[in-house]
Symmetry: C2
Subunit: 196 residues, 2 copies
DNA sequence: TGGTTGTTGAACACGGTGCTCATTTTCGAT
DNA sequence: ATCGAAAATGAGCACCGTGTTCAACAACCA
């Protein structure tokens, strides 16, 4: 059952549409992009668009899905708590650096509630798993675990957004350090201890 | 120059529209609301809507503006650093509690990038002012001040959103404590000291 | 009361959407 | 190189939400 490679034309069309969407997002932001804009920029027939995607949201989602897969292949992202507390952070920043234009397109212009939500959901899963391992199951925390998760995710996204908005003014290792400097003290103070 | 009170009909219409928008947002989220929905729910002529606002965004903005004014009157929000580090937090949570339905409408359904941005901008101003006072002007921080600001704002919004999503499962003082427990250690560790 | 101001609903042009279908182009396997 | 299958095309269509106009009507307030 070889993973059937789609027709060359199909790949071409899909890529053209993906790229077109990204380019236009960089100038207008997702919300203002129109299907017409996309097919014009991509030099693709309007009906062709609808042969592949039901609407622009699905096009965006498929693009993000690819990015997500690429991220999953990124060294170290999925190592869990073994890499130390909040170990996902550095690889994640590196992945952002490696796909600068793409991430930029997703963030500019307040970048759609949709993008925010997708990014958030994925991160939330990672963080929840990681913290669940570290915290003693029945131990009463001064702050609900879910709150710690939300707090951590929001902080990370804050740093990432700043980094992108400023056009990556420092190396990935540096933002990562800032993120940890700010976030970890608050977490440790709750009695959650990293294994190192 | 007495602040000319608008015609009674005008007040009536504006309130009807405001309320209608809020109600519909509670069920559909801002993005899916249509001008038609609003005027139907409000029992107001379509052309009347456009006599007052240019589009639904302006209606939303005017509503938020009112909320902002109400917030400014809230005891303690604008006291600056005199109330201790992050002193705006508790009064803010209280204001949320006092205007539960309204805040809820703004947050449900991933609540529009626009709302997020407006809330963020306002908070950012508060936090920036507060921190600017506390930090020695020329002192080199391990983290740019602007990053600390973004971090603080995001953390606060994370807590506030969680609190609203969970339908206020604890008193304002409690979320406030959580917020401080999580956020302040990271800030203090940078060498920024509260005056107390 | 009367003059002013606000409200109404019908009508309109516009632009984006999602879909259909007959025709043409391109692919890839033989 | 050929040929059948699959994909791309673009014109056309119905639909919906927008934002505007206007003449008739209703409510306000002095």
């Amino acid at each position: 059952m070889a993973a059937k490679v789609p027709d060359r034309r199909v790949r071409r069309t899909r890529n053209l549409l993906q790229d077109a969407l990204m380019e236009i997002m960089l100038t207008k932001g997702y919300d203002d992009v129109t299907v017409q804009d996309i097919v014009d920029r991509a030099n693709v027939g309007r009906s062709t668009f609808y042969a592949h995607f039901t609407d622009k949201q699905q096009l965006l989602t498929s693009g993000i899905e690819q990015l997500r897969e690429s991220l999953a292949r990124q060294e170290g992202v999925l190592e869990g708590p073994s890499a130390g507390l909040l170990g996902f952070s550095l690889p994640m920043f590196q992945h952002v650096a490696d796909n600068y234009r793409l991430y930029r397109a997703l963030v500019v212009k307040g970048g759609s509630a949709l993008v925010e939500e997708l990014a958030r959901d994925m991160l939330t899963g990672l963080v929840r798993d990681e913290l669940a391992v570290l915290v003693p199951p029945g131990a009463p925390l001064p702050v609900p675990l879910e709150v710690v998760v939300q707090y951590t995710v929001s902080s990370f996204l804050a740093l990432q957004t700043w980094w992108l908005d400023q056009k990556m003014p420092c190396p990935a290792g540096e933002v990562d350090r800032m993120f940890r400097d700010l976030t970890i003290p608050g977490i440790m103070a709750l009695g959650i201890a990293p294994q190192s």
